[in-house]
């Protein structure tokens, strides 16, 4: 073959797709990819990264505060003592040194685990993916909260699950509605493969499952032999109130898969998380992980083990909590100042997010377009549901922005909301509408009306009474 012929072959191979090629690929894609769509929202979200936009849309912890000296010392130690191991493949289940760190973190919340209960994963996200891979056949039912973590929705969709979403209110998942849903499923001869819950400082709603509901959920799980996937990335990021026991510590471990991560308490970039699960489940997760990525980053694991050995992880955590608590308070004040009286929002005791709900005439996906022209961004609520609900809600992150940016960002959002509400009223001929907080809200609306009004003291007292 001559050089020219070779070049021609190469350029033919690199020729871009014609409509025939398009069809060829489209015809090959697996069924499960049909629900994996690009979306207008995702493209709008890409624009939120522009430097002049105040983005309250991220879920980013503030990594700019990580102590540089610690990092340098740790990396030097690794270079001296464990470089070969850090750069080598490791066991699928994870390096032994890191199990202690995981146990330490879980113990901080009062949950006991042994090394044999654990598998190390590439971020908490991988746990969701592996659990779906292990349990879901196309069409299987799983239960999640409404709203739920949007990142879990893409996993559920990829495995073609049939997701039943149960509303949350200020005290987390409505367990009464959950039990009703289970009964309904019983009548249809179906049962969920697992229940996915983020009980503490939920992403996106910010709410926390109360102790009575945790107990009831665990009871139901035992009665019906239902698996619970407890996703707990934020449990240690508590700014006020008393910690609640994890589902795992209430239940004992037979029916709870715990999902943990170092992302919010240490660093998301190291991509390190874990699952604690019953042994038979752990085995399947392990096999699934082998097929996915062989093992998580050895370098990250060695780094984390060294970091914990240095002993300052709780200091960093305390610094983060102080920083985030201030930012949360700034955002809550700003919301009270700038959002119209008809808006409602959650008041999380920890975590990274506040969930605001506007009057239902407004659609936050469209509102985002206008917000972007005012250089502010948030996450529209639709992405947290599978069925089109959440259109009037938005998720706001306070951890990733300075206090000034939070104040200014919320001011801009308030401006946009007010403009559109005024326009709506002009169009419908109404004067300012009655407040949306109905004393007996319909079943679909999260009952968030009482969150703002109860002073903290009363809520803790109420919990103590019920607990």
């Amino acid at each position: 073959m001559t050089i020219e012929e070779d070049d021609q072959r190469t350029s033919r191979r690199r020729r871009s797709s014609s409509s025939r090629d398009l069809e060829r690929y489209a015809g090959l894609f697996a069924e499960r990819t049909k629900v994996m769509t690009s979306s207008a929202m995702r493209d709008l979200m890409a624009i939120t990264e522009r430097p002049e936009v105040i983005s309250l849309a991220g879920g980013l912890p503030d990594t700019s505060t990580f102590p540089v000296e610690s990092f340098r010392e740790i990396m030097e130690d690794i270079a001296q003592e464990s470089l070969a191991r850090a750069l080598q493949y490791g066991p699928t289940e994870g390096h032994a040194a890191i199990y202690e760190c995981i146990a330490t973190v879980m113990a901080q919340e009062g949950t006991r685990v042994d090394a044999d209960d654990l598998i190390v994963t590439t971020g908490g996200q991988q746990v969701i993916d592996l659990v779906c891979k292990t349990f879901i056949d196309p069409g299987d039912v799983i239960v999640a909260e409404a709203p739920t973590y949007p990142g879990a929705i893409s996993s559920f969709n990829a495995y073609q699950a049939d997701v039943v979403q149960i509303e949350v209110d200020a005290d987390g998942m409505r367990i009464d509605l959950f039990e009703e849903a289970l009964e309904r499923l019983d009548r249809e001869g179906r049962r969920p493969k697992f229940v996915y819950t983020i009980p503490t400082f939920q992403n996106p709603a910010g709410v926390t499952m109360s102790l009575p509901r945790r107990k009831r959920l665990v009871e139901v799980a035992r009665e019906r032999e239902l698996l619970l996937l407890e996703d707990n990335p934020y449990g240690l990021l508590r700014y006020e109130g008393d910690p609640l026991p994890t589902l795992r510590s209430l239940e004992g471990g037979d029916f709870v898969i715990s999902l943990g991560t170092f992302s919010k308490i240490l660093s998301p970039g190291i991509r390190l998380g874990w699952a604690a699960a019953p042994r038979p489940v752990l085995q399947k997760l392990n096999m699934g992980k082998q097929g996915a990525d062989l093992c998580s980053s050895s370098l990250s694991q060695v780094f984390v083990a060294a970091y914990f050995a240095h002993g300052s992880w709780t200091e960093y955590l305390d610094a983060l909590k102080e920083l985030y608590r201030r930012r949360r308070d700034t955002m809550l004040d700003a919301l009270a100042e700038h959002l119209p009286p008809e808006a409602r929002w959650t008041r999380p005791e920890g975590g990274l997010f506040i969930w605001a709900t506007l009057p239902e005439e407004l659609d936050t996906t469209d509102l985002l377009a206008r917000a972007l022209s005012h250089n502010v961004a948030f996450v529209p609520g639709r992405g947290a549901y599978l069925d089109g609900r959440g259109a009037a809600s938005m998720r706001l992150n306070f951890s990733g922005s300075s206090d000034d940016d939070i104040r200014e960002g919320v001011r801009r959002i308030g401006e946009v909301v007010r403009e559109q509400l005024d326009l709506y009223r002009t169009l419908t001929g109404h004067r300012p509408a009655a407040p949306a907080a109905d004393p007996a809200p319909p079943a679909e609306d999260p009952d968030l009306a009482d969150v703002l009004e109860l002073p903290r003291r009363e809520r803790s007292a109420r919990r103590r009474e019920q607990g």
């Binding site: 020729r15 797709s17 398009l22 489209a26 206008r370 326009l423 169009l427």
Partner: protein, 312 residues
């Protein structure tokens, strides 16, 4: 082929269609590279003039969609800098980007386009246009199509099934633009005729697989839409569609290339023109490249032709 050019590819930018533009731009850069040209890729921002002045390109390929890229803004800058550029000039871009302007031009010329009314925000805020809504709804019927006047990629289009849904639809559309188009609904097949140079390309039909509206998801997700090219319509429909597209292309003053979107009424077979696009998408799922392909013009040849037209 011919001499090696230095081509500045303008892509990205600040519009809501930024991601689409980046995809178009990337494909254009690949093609230009294969064609042997020198590429200067520019994600347009505040330093655009600086970078263009430094690069001294022979020609600029405008792969920008939406605000600032398709509405004459960047074209005006390129005129001032004396850099030849692809596609339509400033005035044609202004007319195409504003659906209201283009529809008025079409209507005045007797080209069939769905009946419409348009309002900006001040009409509602200052002139009490809300009180005229019942009359508007009576005039245009339901479902009522509500669109932002100057947004692409189907962003912000709402279909209001009844009067109660109209205020929300208007508020949503006004989130994208200060001017809104209200249009009579036509139940029709989605047809697109692209123009290259002065010639119409084969008609493409976008056949929706799982949804009812050719919305954003349908446009840009592979596998959501089946594209028929050439479209399975009668020869007469093809000819008429192409004539209409060329007429609109000329009427609005377009040059280089464009894409005209039409609906073919399912009941009557009548063709109506929706809009003309001055910078058609050039992504994997875009309509112009598929039409060119059906005419035997591969993507590289298409890009080369568009560049050459800019230099004529």
């Amino acid at each position: 082929m011919s001499e090696r050019l230095r081509v500045a590819v303008l892509k990205g930018g600040r519009s809501l269609e930024r991601q689409v533009s980046l995809a178009s731009g990337a494909r254009v850069e690949d093609a230009l590279e294969r064609l042997g040209h020198e590429i200067v890729g520019i994600d347009v921002g505040h330093d655009l003039v600086e970078r263009l002045t430094a690069a001294k390109p022979d020609v600029a390929f405008v792969a920008l969609h939406g605000r600032d890229g398709e509405d004459g803004t960047v074209q005006e800058l390129l005129e001032v800098l004396g850099i030849p550029y692809t596609g339509s000039g400033v005035s044609a871009c202004i007319r195409c980007a504003d659906k209201v302007l283009s529809k008025h031009a079409m209507r005045d010329e007797g080209i069939a386009t769905p009946e419409f009314l348009s309002f900006n925000e001040t009409a509602f805020k200052e002139l009490g246009a809300a009180d005229a809504l019942p009359a508007i709804e009576e005039h245009l019927g339901f479902p009522l199509v509500v669109k932002p006047a100057d947004q692409g990629s189907s962003l912000g289009i709402k279909f209001a099934p009844d009067a109660a849904a109209v205020p929300s639809a208007l508020v949503a559309a006004f989130s994208y633009s200060s001017k809104v188009l209200l249009e009579r609904y036509v139940d029709g097949r989605d047809l697109a005729v692209s123009i290259l140079g002065d010639e119409p390309l084969p008609v493409v039909e976008a056949v929706l697989l799982d949804r009812e509206v050719y919305d954003f998801e349908a446009r840009y997700t592979i596998g959501q839409t089946r594209f028929e090219c050439p479209a399975e319509v009668s020869d007469e429909t093809t000819r008429t569609a192409q004539e209409l597209a060329v007429a609109v292309h000329r009427l609005l003053g377009c040059s280089g290339f464009s894409r005209v979107d039409l609906l073919c009424d399912r009941a009557t077979g009548e063709l109506v023109v929706l809009e003309a696009n001055a910078v058609p998408g050039l992504t994997e799922t875009s309509l112009l490249p598929q039409a060119a392909d059906a005419a035997g013009i591969g993507f590289d040849a298409l890009v080369e032709r568009v560049v050459r037209l800019a230099l004529e």
